[in-house]
Each structure stands twice: as structure tokens, then as C-alpha cells.
Amino acid sequence: MESPELTSSSRGKKRGRTAHSRAGAHTIAPPLEPGAPSDSELMKGIQEGDADALSQLYDRYNGILKALILRVIHNEAEADDLLQEIFMEIWNQAKNFSEQKGKPLGWMVTLARRRAIDGLRKKQAYARAEERLQNETEQQPDAWVHNATEEEIVLGDTRVLIRKVISSLPPAQQQAIDLAFFRGMSQREIAAKTNTPLGTVKTRLELGLKKIYDGLKDLKDEL
């Protein structure tokens, strides 16, 4: 889509040429192709009302954000609707984004997760979603996977490395983190669901998150 905000000098090469600026201290986002605009540059474009910047950001992250939404709500059609709403919110709320508070991907993931969990709670669909998750896991673990593009292969490397970090945790820690992050459950809710003392849940979350956090520091060097 043509954007009136892109000047003739920038039109051919899109925004900026500083992909390296994305590899900040607080991000583990996968590397970009040489010459691609950084996430920060795209966010700046969106803040200036550049629809093409939003289009590029969508192309870059719609797959990741949809996977996150699906992980929470387990419904393809609802996930698509929510994805559209989330990118519209990114467009509308871009002025509130500040690089000082974090990186664009972190901001978008936070926003998407909150919206997905809100959606799940509003519909009171925990039981239904769990049932679907169970069926999907048993019957078709990769049901939403489509043919990999080149970009996804790069993403795939990052994913493999991150999953390695996460899968190194004891299953009980993984479960506690999964319930907290993807289901938005409180410690008490996790304790009730897993029939585990509250203190144990807290310890599992603290230890698990610390291990992942420390693992990500090494991962940044590898990326």
C-alpha cells in the first residue's frame, strides 16, 4: 500500500537502514535482513501516521502475535478478529509507546496477551478452551502450522533456542509459567488448579522465570 508519508527518497528503500539498532539490550527478537527498517523505526513511522510502517510491522509480526493469541483462546476465527483489533490498537495507541520503557515487540506482545486473556475471561471459556487444547494436542499438534517462509526459518532458529531454554526447566515450573503467562492465572488459581501449596507455586514461578531470564542473556549473545 502506498503511503503519502513516505518521501521519494525513502520510498525505494522503505524506512531507514539501521537494522542493528533493533538488537538492544532488552530484546531477544530475531535478526532482520540487512537494510530492513528496525522495529523502532517502524514504530516511529506509525507514531507519525505512516500506514506503510504499520503494514510492514504487520507483515513482520502477525504470525507471532496470532500464535500467542491462539495459545490463549484456541479459536481460529476469534484469533483473527482479535489480531485485527490488536493491530488497530497499535495504530491508535502508538503515541503512548516509549522506547525507554521497552522494545516494540515487547510492547506489542504485552498488549496482545492482555487482550487475549481479557477475551478469554469475558467469555468464561476456560473449560471449552482447555478441552480444545487437549484435542489439538492429542490429534494435531501442529494444526496451525503452514509452509515455512524464509523469514520463518530465521524465526525458527530463534524459536528453537528459546524453546531449549524453556524446556530445560522441570515440568512443574514450565506448567506454572504456562498457566500464569498464557492463561493469566494468579498464583492462587494455579495452586487450586494443580492442587499444589501456594508457596510451592510461588517458588516454581520464581525459579523458572529466573532460569529463563538468565538463559535469555546467553541467548542474546548467540543471536
Binding site: T27, K66, L216
Partner: protein, 78 residues
């Protein structure tokens, strides 16, 4: 609360897993540690990225992007 305890709480905070009674104590510590606390909390948001990036990207319908860009265009014109 010492800073190491604050770090543990921060990681719970960013994924929304602090209980209400813990939140109050966390906010007090956050104020006490000032910029050091804010910097650490910012770093903790990398956990969000990590959990999202650990998932296999999902395909969304082309119509979603078309609708999104049409909405953006309409909004810009108003």
C-alpha cells in the same frame, strides 16, 4: 525487601502473577530502588518476547490485513 527479592518479584510482576497483597509491597520497593528498579523491570519484559517467540508463527487470513489497512485509511481520512 532487598534487591534480589525485588528482582524475583519483578519477573512475576511483568507476567501479572503477583498477588494483590504482594503488589503493594512491590510498589513500595519499586519506589525505594528508583531508577535501578525501573531499568530492571524494563529488562524483564524480554520474558514476554521470549514466550511469544517460543511459539510457532500462525498463519492469518489475508483478509485480516486488508480490513486492517482499510480501517486505518478510513481513520486517517476522518
Amino acid at each position: 525487601m532487598n534487591f534480589e527479592q525485588f528482582q524475583n518479584q519483578s519477573r512475576l510482576y511483568v507476567i501479572g502473577a503477583l498477588e494483590a497483597e504482594e503488589l503493594e509491597e512491590f510498589e513500595q520497593a519499586r519506589e525505594k530502588f528508583g531508577k535501578k528498579a525501573e531499568d530492571f523491570i524494563s529488562k524483564c519484559y524480554a520474558l514476554h518476547e521470549a514466550f511469544a517467540l517460543s511459539l510457532r508463527p500462525a498463519k492469518s487470513s489475508d483478509a485480516i490485513k486488508d480490513r486492517l489497512m482499510a480501517m486505518v485509511k478510513a481513520k486517517k481520512q476522518t
